[in-house]
Amino acid sequence: MSSKSGLLRGNSLGLTSLLTFVILALAWFVGFASRLFAIVRFESIIHEFDPWFNYRATAHMVEHGFYNFLNWFDERAWYPLGRIVGGTVYPGLMVTSGLIHHVLDVLNFPVHIRDICVFLAPTFSGLTAIATYFLTKELWSAGAGLFATAFIAISPGYTSRSVAGSYDNEGIAIFALQATYFLWVKSVKTGSVMWAALCGLMYFYMVSAWGGYVFIINLIPLHVLVLICIGRFSSRVYTAYSSFYVLGTILSMQIPFVGFQPVRTSEHMPALGVFGLVQIVAAMQYTRTRVTRAQFLTLFIGGLSVALGVGLVGYLSLVWGGYVAPFSGRFYSLWDTGYAKIHIPIIASVSEHQPTTWVSFFFDLHITAAVFPAGLWYCVKNVNDERVFIILYAVSAVYFAGVMVRLMLTLTPVVCVLAGIAFSLTFEKFLKNDDHFRSNSSGSDNKQYDKLKKQKGYEGSEEPGTSTDGASPSEDPIGPNVRSIVSFVMSILLLMFVVHATYVTSNAYSHPSVVLQSSTSNGGRVMMDDFREAYHWLRENTADDARIMSWWDYGYQIAGMANRTTLVDNNTWNNSHIALVGKAMSSNESAAYEIMRELDVDYVLVIFGGVIGYSGDDINKFLWMVRIAEGEHPKEIREANYFTESGEYSVGAQASQTMLNCLMYKMSYYRFGETRVGYNQAAGFDRTRNYVIGKKDITLEHVEEAYTTENWLVRIYRVKKPANRNGVKYTERKIRPAGGHKTSSVVGRNGRKGSLKNKAVVVKGKRPVTA
């Protein structure tokens, strides 16, 4: 693509812009279409867990209006605490789809809000592609921009979070992120207040959409700081940052969930510090021209150290005084990967918070992961104000992506940008003037040509792997064969990227995880719709106010699909409440019953994969429940009790008694011992764990099976009302007084059987004395 635009350079402006427009439109279309695998294979359905909450919230907003949504107190979550939804969500996603729905509605296009939610992320992927184009264009060239657009449109790392049905904040946030960065780069380049204001507005949209805005509000100040340090500070940077910071901060504080955080938490303090620093530096620059050098030095060193000291002391005292919150645990876990496991097991228990493996870098980025260092190298070689930004972005994103799988998402855009630059440059070098070289079969003396390239700053711009040029700069030994081979290999790589991206999108990221799919021995398709079976059963056949206890993973789905009250859900804001549920799950039945009675639980829902071999079931997650429960109730729950004698986690024959008697085990395996999954397997053979379970004759006392789905994937138990006390024979019912025939042993001071305090005492026969 870039090669085309490269060839066309110098041709009429119209053709280039038409081509650009067509390529961008195609990128949008391809990005949209490649995200529809889930729709084609399954249906238009909301995926996974968090999207169900977002969908529910959006539906609530569409039904009740925006202000009622902001004031929404959800009594169906976190029973008995409830949740103030309006103040604890990033409303950007809901508002966006609600707005689209509203506009279509006004135009008499009745589209169900679910369909808008399902198709929102694919639509925004096109916008992301365009934002990436503009960002790359600002950073390098339009050709590189088109490459980056094509990459981001299909890059698996981004597709993973934006397939149709994946209705999550990230779907629109990556667009907001790229657009904010584009506007930031633009405002740094131009130093215009307009661009900086637009950047602030886009930042506001980003804040309203995703908690990842913290990345922006730390990266941009870092950029400014680095620019100051390497002596690239200018009035443009000053204008851009001052306008952006002031406007962005004030706007971001309009989001109820963010509120005063920008001035009261440590995560936002660097931005404020840099804001102050920018003022000082600007003042210094102003004074430098007006005072002598010696005076300036004193002013510089003295002023800077005083300002730094005051700033630091001020910050520390504010933290100490409790006005500014210290860094949160989630922040520390970014720097110390072992931190969460020890201190916040609930964060560590989430699979997407695990450190990234090398495989997943390749899986999510493919060839771009290998090429983007080259792009980074070009940026370092030809550094300017805005390229400093992309360098910082790349370095920090690579680090964060290494810490958490989830943050691959923030890495993907920058990788696409830099890979776009690398590919564009390489093709520019190896494709340009190809016809000329073909006509000149004996190219040897190209000294001047080479020199000219050097002047333009293209020297050293070869791909490291294909470099033959750098060794002898005085000559250009790239013959037509090498050119065609390199171009051919690069094209093959690009084709492989497309194949890989399609393959990964289709096979790894397009499963709704609400519906499971497997195939029969003769190739037929089997849908296992157990989740919806169970949720629909709950929706139709339990009381409207029934309270469902389950592990927090399923909270959003129960609320969204079954429309019933849950105790804990995926918004894991209250660790102790989750720990209480974890405790109930890991206690024995009678202890659990007490907790469940206290929490008014009507039904308990567990996920059990032993029949079909589903690995993500509650028994496999159980250890985390124990750990989280242990964190809050270390006296009752001890992780060690759940291991076998040899220290393994097992539900088989060697399992400990605590394990075999806990509620989770009982509910998962109730009557499972009577089943046979295969002809040659013993009764009670667990397909997920691949062994026979430890205890088969399970009896339940306080709960009873209410519903189990077709493949036993979801098991719902009803909590029984307290049983009547055992009958007492009539003859034994009389209460025998302990001593003598006294009916009551309590006699008041004045000998009466009981009296009321301050009771008016009527004394007969005496006239009250009057003074």
């Binding site: 350079r9 110098g10 009429s12 402006l13 399954f42 249906e43 238009s44 359905i45 008499n108 296009f109 009745p110 003037n433 000329h436 006509s439 000149n440 004996s442 190219g443 040897s444 003396d445 190209n446 001047q448 040509y449 000219l452 333009k456 609400v514 519906v515 849908m527 719709d529 919806r532 079976e533 949720y535 629909h536 059963w537 929706r539 139709e540 056949n541 969204g560 699909m561 009557r671 009577e674 089943t675 009873e704 099976e705 209410a706 519903y707 189990t708 789905t709 077709e710 036993w712 009803r718």
Partner: protein, 591 residues
Amino acid sequence: MCKNIPRYRMKVLIFTLGLLAALALSQDVKITDAERTVDISSQLAKVNVALTVQNNGKSALSDVLFYITTDEAAHLAHIAATIKKKDVKVQPQSAVQGFAVYKVVLPKKIEAGASETINVEYVLVQSLVPFPEQITQEETQHVVYTGNAHISSAYPVEKEKTTVIFGSGKLQSFATVAPSKQLGEKVVYGPYSNTAAKAISEIRVHYENVSPFIVATTVERLIEISHWGNIAVEEKIQIVHKGAKLTGSFSRLDYQIDRRGKKQPCVKEFKTILPAAARDIYYRDVIGNISSSSLKVRAESVEVDVKPRFPLFGGWKTNYIMGYNLPSYEYLFADGDKFVLKMRLLDHIYDGMVVEKLTTKIVLPEKASNVKLSTPYTVNRRPDEKLATYLDTEGRKVIVIEKNSLVDAHIQPFTLEYQWSRLYIWREPLMATGFFLCLFLAVIVYVRFDFEITKDSASEALLGVQAKVEEVEKIVNERIAIHKRLIEAVSTFKGDKEEETLKNTRAKIETERAELKKKMSGIVGQMKTLLPAASEKLNEMEQLESGIVNSESAYIEKTSKSTTKNSSEDRQWTVRVNGDTNKMKDIINSI
């Protein structure tokens, strides 16, 4: 019509009339033979009464009264009568003590002394009461039928017999009204002779009934007409199993290993028959597709095996949406601007179905007028609604029809007439076309016109420069072509040594060059004002060019002098020319 007569007088009038009629009837009309079968093997009680009515009076009898006990009348869903297999009208009358009254209007009067056999069929819904009310998963369902041993008759009955068919289940008990006996799957009451009018003696039959007791509590049927050739039908159905309620736990294991088959007290699936032309059938609920259903296309129908997400035990309920498209030519008939829609008011859901409340909505095309609805039975027509969908401006008219308590017999077509101009079909395409036209026009206007308030000299200059650069590029290309021609000429000269041709070519080239140079110098002059940096570069290019030209002439001098073929020199020179032309291209690009 009766508005002017005070109410009490009406009542008095009716009462006297009724009294007179009763008097007349009791004397003159007699039922000589009555045979009744009550089929209670499903969830319905289907009653079929064959009456032989004899007119002993003096005048011809134009209608016959038919009584149903009030207990039964509360569950009555459908009543119809036939004489010699031909349908006759049945009209409800005001009730008398303990009975609901229906009048069978005879198509041919029964003359004095003559007799006629009338078949009356009626269906009772939800009249079979589960007993016990709650059962566990292992038990089977038993129900109690309560009825009258005698035919509820307005006239004395000479001979009567009632057969209660309870089906293949086990009979627990039945109330005896002698003579009564069990015969296989039936309980026979009677024959009784000379029963008085309005005789009642209650009977109860307690028996095992394993047929599904599912009731569609609400059915919302939406029919949307499109004049592009499609009729979309969507039914929202709420289903409840109203048999004996499940008590205790539901065990999936017991359910899976249960070998009772259809005797299990639950509904696993049922069959819905859709019209043969149904296409794009979908079966879903609030949370998405229900993937457990299958479709069979038969010659006259499409059968859908509707499998709810979970088996329906007693007391459990579910809901689903089923929709499909039909080609409109099968149901919509036209005569000019007049259209008639002929479709079913209610369609099949499952065999022996019971619908508690039906709402049928018919969405007419926008701007349809003069709507006339005729229904096969009395329905409650609600006020019309408006619905604005795709590309509508004022919304479409929606006819809303409601009816309670329906059974299979209610699957009958209605007709709906309306007027609609065929020109309206072009409205929406034209609107869409117009919209895009405006959009493109707006883009064209935006791109072509200058909306800036202040003149941006820089960008304008840039455009000027761009144009100049294009011109320069043209010149350079021409020059390169000239070089090539020269090289060719030289090489041919080397071959044939004809100085004349070379000289001619050179002279021609010289003139062309001079022209180009003139042009170029003009551009360079203009460029100086526009973009000084570029003009410098152009100057540089001019120097290059003149260098090439000079070296060329030197080279040609050399070649013309020398007679040997010094190819190395040749090559060097060619390379040099090429290198310089490349450099020129680069300069243009850089500008």
